[in-house]
C-alpha cells in the first residue's frame, strides 16, 4: 500500500524521518529528538500501552498510542495537536487527583516522572477531587517501602519483576476503581517471594516503591560517642555517586567520596573491593577443588543476595552448587568485627559497620540471622548510593569542593580484580585472573579476559587456562538465571562456572544507584569500573599483599577452618516446591 513512497520514511510533525528497524513509533519519534512523555513504556519491557501519554494523531487513522504502533513508511504523524494536548493533560490531572502529593517529603521527589511529566505538559491545576481513602504503607520489607497512595498503576514494576527477574512478587489485583499493585494475597512485600533486588523501585515512575532508607540509624551511630563507626564502600558506588552531584555517569570520585565519609564522622573508610579480593581467593580455590574432584559443578557465584534468595526459593536442589563464599560485604563486615576490637581496644558491640552499596538486597542480606553474632550483626547498616548522597547533602558538604582523601589501610587496599565485581562478568574475570596463574604456575601476560565482558544478559565463554578448557556463563537478570539453572537441573549443560547478578549490567545497575532510565548510563558506569581497574597498579587479587597478610596473621590458609568460619556461609531452602519437585534432585553435570 505504501509502494508510492520511494524511501522508507515517515513524517513526524512535518519532518521526514527515516525508518531504521525501530520497534515502534515512539522510538522513532524520540530518535527525531521529540520527547514524548510516557509512564508505562520501558525499552527493556513488553509494550503495555496503558498510560495513554504517548498518543499521536496518524493521518487517516485517528489517535493511537505511539508505543504500540509499528512504524510504517508514508505515515503522517502529529504529536502535539490541540486534542492530544488536552487528553494528556486530563490524564495527568486525573492521576494527580488520587495521588498522594507530598512531594517535598517524598523520597522520589528528585526523580519522579509524574512530577516531571506534569511540568513538561504544563499541568497547572487539578480540577478533580480525591476519591481513594488513604491506605497504610507497607514496611514489611527491610529493603523497600511500598506506598500504595502514590501508585499510578503504570505497571512498570510488575513487568520488570515478571519479565526480567521471573519472580512476579507483585502484580495487579482487584479491578477498576479498586485496582492495585499488590504482593500475593495482599501480604507484605517482605513476607513473600520478593528477592529485594529493588528494580521495581528503580523503574517506579513515582514514589510508590522506594528503597528503605537507613539514614537516621546511621546518623544516630555517628553521633553516638560510644560507637566506633566504620564504612565500607562497594566498587559500583564510586562510578555513580557523582551523578547525584551533577557529574557524568562513570566519573570516578573515590577521593571525594572517602573525604565525604570522613567528614560525616566515619572513623575508618574501607573498600569492599578488598573483601572482593578475598572472595576471589576463596571462591577460586573452592572452584578448583570442585573441578579437581568433579563435584558440585557448575559452581554458581554467591555475591549477589538477590540471586541467593532466588536460588533458595526456586532451586533448593541446586544450593550445594552455590559457592559457599559470603559476599564481599559480609566478608568485610565479619573481618571488621573480628579484627578491629583488638586493634583499637574496643568491644565488638561498640563497632558499627556501615556499608554503602549500589543495592537494596544488601539490606536484606545484612539482616540474615546467620550474619549476626552475640546480638551484633557483622554489618549493622546498609546505605544505598542514593542514601549516601542524601547524607552528604544533609550535612551541607559541597561535593565538588572536597579534597580527595584515601581509604584506610589495610582493608582499603584493593587490586583491579576486586573493583571488577561491580560489573557483570567482573567476578568471573577476577576469578580467571587468579585461577589461570594458579593452574599454570605462570604469570599472565595480560590480565584482561574480554571473553566474559559484554552487555548480553546471558553470555557463554570458553577460556583456556594452563591447558585446561573452562566453560563459563555470565548472567544478569534472574530470568536468564532461571533459564540456565533449569538447564543445569536437567543436566543439560557442561558448564564449570556460572556468574549470576540480579540487576541489569551487574551491581552498577543496582537499584540503590542514582535513578536513571537510560541504558547509556549503565554503559558509562561499566566503562568507569574497567577504567578504575586499568588505572590501578595491581590487577590480580593474589597480588594484594594486605590480603595475603590477613591470611598469614589471622585467617591461616585459604579455605581453611578459620577462613571458613569468617568468610563462608550456608543456604536454606525457603519455599517447598510442593507441587513440582525437581525431576532429578541434586543433579550434577559432568563436564
Amino acid at each position: 500500500m505504501t509502494t508510492s513512497v520511494p524511501t522508507k520514511t515517515l513524517n513526524i510533525d512535518g519532518l521526514d524521518v527515516a525508518i531504521n528497524g525501530e520497534r515502534n513509533l515512539l522510538e522513532l519519534i524520540r530518535k527525531a529528538d521529540i520527547e514524548l512523555p510516557t509512564f508505562c513504556y520501558h525499552s527493556d519491557l513488553s509494550v503495555y500501552g496503558a498510560c495513554r501519554l504517548c498518543l499521536v494523531e496518524i493521518e487517516g487513522r485517528g489517535i493511537q498510542s505511539a508505543c504500540s504502533t509499528p512504524p510504517e513508511a508514508g505515515l503522517k504523524v502529529r504529536t502535539h495537536t490541540e486534542e492530544i494536548r488536552e487528553i494528556r493533560k486530563i490524564s495527568i490531572e486525573l492521576l494527580l487527583a488520587n495521588h498522594d502529593q507530598q512531594c517535598p517529603t517524598c523520597l522520589k521527589s528528585n526523580s519522579c516522572q509524574l512530577k516531571s511529566v506534569a511540568r513538561q505538559l504544563g499541568v497547572d491545576r487539578v480540577r478533580f477531587k480525591r476519591v481513594h481513602e488513604p491506605e497504610p504503607l507497607d514496611y514489611s520489607s527491610v529493603a523497600l517501602i511500598r506506598d500504595p497512595n502514590k501508585c499510578i498503576l503504570c505497571g512498570d514494576c510488575v513487568r520488570f519483576c515478571a519479565e526480567v527477574q521471573s519472580v512476579g512478587a507483585i502484580d495487579f489485583a482487584y479491578r477498576g476503581h479498586d485496582a492495585a499493585v499488590l504482593p500475593a494475597f495482599g501480604q507484605g512485600l517482605g513476607d513473600g517471594e520478593c528477592i529485594n533486588c529493588g528494580q521495581c523501585a528503580a523503574v517506579c515512575t513515582t514514589g510508590a516503591l522506594t528503597p528503605r532508607p537507613e539514614i537516621d540509624e546511621v546518623w544516630r551511630a555517628l553521633n553516638d560517642p560510644t560507637k566506633f563507626v566504620v564504612a565500607q564502600v562497594a566498587p559500583a558506588v564510586r562510578v555513580a555517586l557523582g551523578e547525584e552531584f551533577g557529574l557524568e555517569p562513570g566519573v570516578v570520585t573515590s577521593g571525594q567520596m572517602v573525604a565525604a565519609l570522613k567528614r560525616l564522622g566515619f572513623e575508618r573508610v574501607y573498600d569492599t573491593s578488598f573483601a572482593a579480593d578475598l572472595t576471589v581467593l576463596e571462591e577460586a580455590n573452592e572452584f578448583l577443588r570442585r573441578k579437581a574432584k568433579n563435584e558440585n559443578l557448575p559452581q554458581f557465584t554467591s555475591c549477589c543476595p538477590g540471586w541467593v534468595k532466588f536460588a533458595e526459593q526456586y532451586f533448593p536442589d541446586l544450593l550445594p552448587q552455590l559457592s559457599t563464599c559470603r559476599s564481599p560485604q559480609q566478608m568485610l563486615g565479619a573481618l571488621c568485627k573480628e579484627l578491629l576490637p583488638a586493634e583499637i581496644n574496643r568491644e565488638r558491640k561498640d563497632i558499627v559497620v556501615v556499608s554503602v552499596m549500589p543495592c537494596t538486597a544488601k539490606k536484606f542480606e545484612a539482616k540474615r540471622p546467620e550474619f549476626t553474632h552475640d546480638g551484633s550483626p557483622d554489618v549493622d547498616h546498609v546505605l544505598t548510593t542514593q542514601e549516601l548522597a542524601r547524607m552528604i547533602i544533609e550535612a551541607g558538604l559541597r561535593y565538588d569542593k572536597l579534597k580527595p582523601e584515601s581509604y584506610d589501610m589495610p582493608m582499603g587496599f584493593k587490586t583491579g580484580a576486586g573493583v571488577l565485581f561491580g560489573n557483570s562478568g567482573g567476578v568471573s574475570e577476577a576469578v580467571l585472573r587468579y585461577a589461570a596463574e594458579k593452574v599454570s604456575g605462570e604469570t599472565l601476560r595480560s590480565p584482561d579476559f574480554h571473553a566474559v565482558r559484554g552487555e548480553d544478559g546471558l553470555r557463554l565463554a570458553t577460556v583456556e587456562i594452563g591447558g585446561q578448557v573452562l566453560k563459563l556463563a555470565v548472567v544478569h537478570g534472574l530470568k536468564n538465571a532461571r533459564t540456565l539453572a533449569d538447564k543445569v537441573r536437567r543436566g543439560k549443560t557442561d558448564l564449570d562456572l556460572i556468574e549470576v547478578m540480579a540487576c541489569p549490567g551487574g551491581c552498577i545497575g543496582g537499584a540503590g544507584q542514582p535513578v536513571s532510565r537510560n541504558a547509556d548510563v549503565r554503559r558509562l558506569r561499566t566503562r568507569g569500573i574497567y577504567d578504575v581497574d586499568k588505572n590501578l597498579d595491581l590487577h590480580k587479587s593474589q597480588e594484594n599483599h594486605f590480603v595475603n597478610e590477613v591470611y598469614t596473621r589471622h585467617l591461616g590458609e585459604i579455605g581453611g577452618k578459620r577462613a571458613h568460619k569468617l568468610l563462608h556461609t550456608c543456604y536454606v531452602p525457603r519455599f517447598p516446591v510442593e507441587a513440582t519437585p525437581p525431576a532429578t534432585p541434586g543433579v550434577t553435570t559432568t563436564p
Partner: protein
C-alpha cells in the same frame, strides 16, 4: 460493629474448609507439602496448563466455596505461575471469592427493573436480619452470604431473590425474610452436607 441481634446460634455448621487466615498464608517456610488431593486432581484434569487457570479456579471454588490463600498458592506453584498473578486473577473476577462464603448464597437483584420495584428495602431487611453488610457479606456462622447482582434477566418477576439455585419473584421484605427463615428451618431439621 455488625449487629447480630437476630443471629440465632446454630449448631456449628460445616467448618470452613481451609482455616488459614487471609492475612498470614501458612505456606511460608513450612516444609510439609500441602496435601490438597482434590485440588491436585482438578489440576491434573486440566493437564497442568497455566492457560486453564480460570476453569481450575472455578472448580476449586465449587469444592471449597471460596479460594483460600493456601490453595491459591498451591495452584500457583503447580501451574508454575507466580502466586501474585493467581491472586490477581482471583480478585479480578467478581465470581471468585477470596473470603469464605456462606453455605447458602443469597443474591438479590438490583438491576434497573428490580431497583425501581423497591429492591433496596428488601436488601436492607435481609442484611439487618442476618447481621451482614456490604463489606462483610457473610454471616458469622457461615450459613449465608448476601450479594447483589446487576441483573438476573428475570425482570418480569421483579424484584427477584435467588437463594442458591432457587428463584423467588415479586419479593417484599417480609416474603424475603420468610424465605431465609425456611432455609434456616430446613438446616435445623436436617443440615445439608
Amino acid at each position: 460493629m455488625i449487629s447480630n441481634l437476630n443471629l440465632e446460634t446454630q449448631g456449628q455448621p460445616e467448618a470452613a474448609p481451609a482455616s488459614a487466615p487471609l492475612s498470614k498464608p501458612s505456606t511460608k517456610n513450612s516444609l510439609a507439602p500441602a496435601p490438597f488431593p482434590k485440588v491436585a486432581l482438578i489440576i491434573e484434569r486440566h493437564g497442568r496448563k497455566p492457560a486453564r487457570l480460570v476453569p481450575i479456579l472455578q472448580e476449586v471454588q465449587e469444592e471449597y466455596r471460596y479460594l483460600p490463600p493456601d490453595i491459591l498458592s498451591y495452584v500457583a506453584r503447580s501451574l508454575n505461575i507466580a502466586p501474585a498473578r493467581v491472586f490477581g486473577v482471583a480478585t479480578f473476577y467478581a465470581h471468585f471469592a477470596i473470603k469464605p462464603k456462606g453455605k447458602h448464597l443469597v443474591r438479590l437483584c438490583d438491576g434497573t427493573a428490580c431497583h425501581v420495584k423497591d429492591s433496596v428495602p428488601i436488601l436492607d431487611a435481609i442484611r439487618f436480619r442476618l447481621g451482614v453488610t456490604e463489606a462483610q457479606p457473610t454471616t458469622r456462622d457461615l450459613l449465608f452470604t448476601v450479594e447483589t447482582v446487576a441483573c438476573l434477566g428475570a425482570c418480569g418477576l421483579a424484584p427477584v431473590l435467588v437463594v442458591d439455585d432457587q428463584v423467588y419473584g415479586a419479593m417484599t421484605p417480609e416474603k424475603a425474610l420468610a424465605v431465609l427463615e425456611s432455609v434456616r428451618e430446613q438446616e435445623r431439621k436436617e443440615p445439608s452436607p
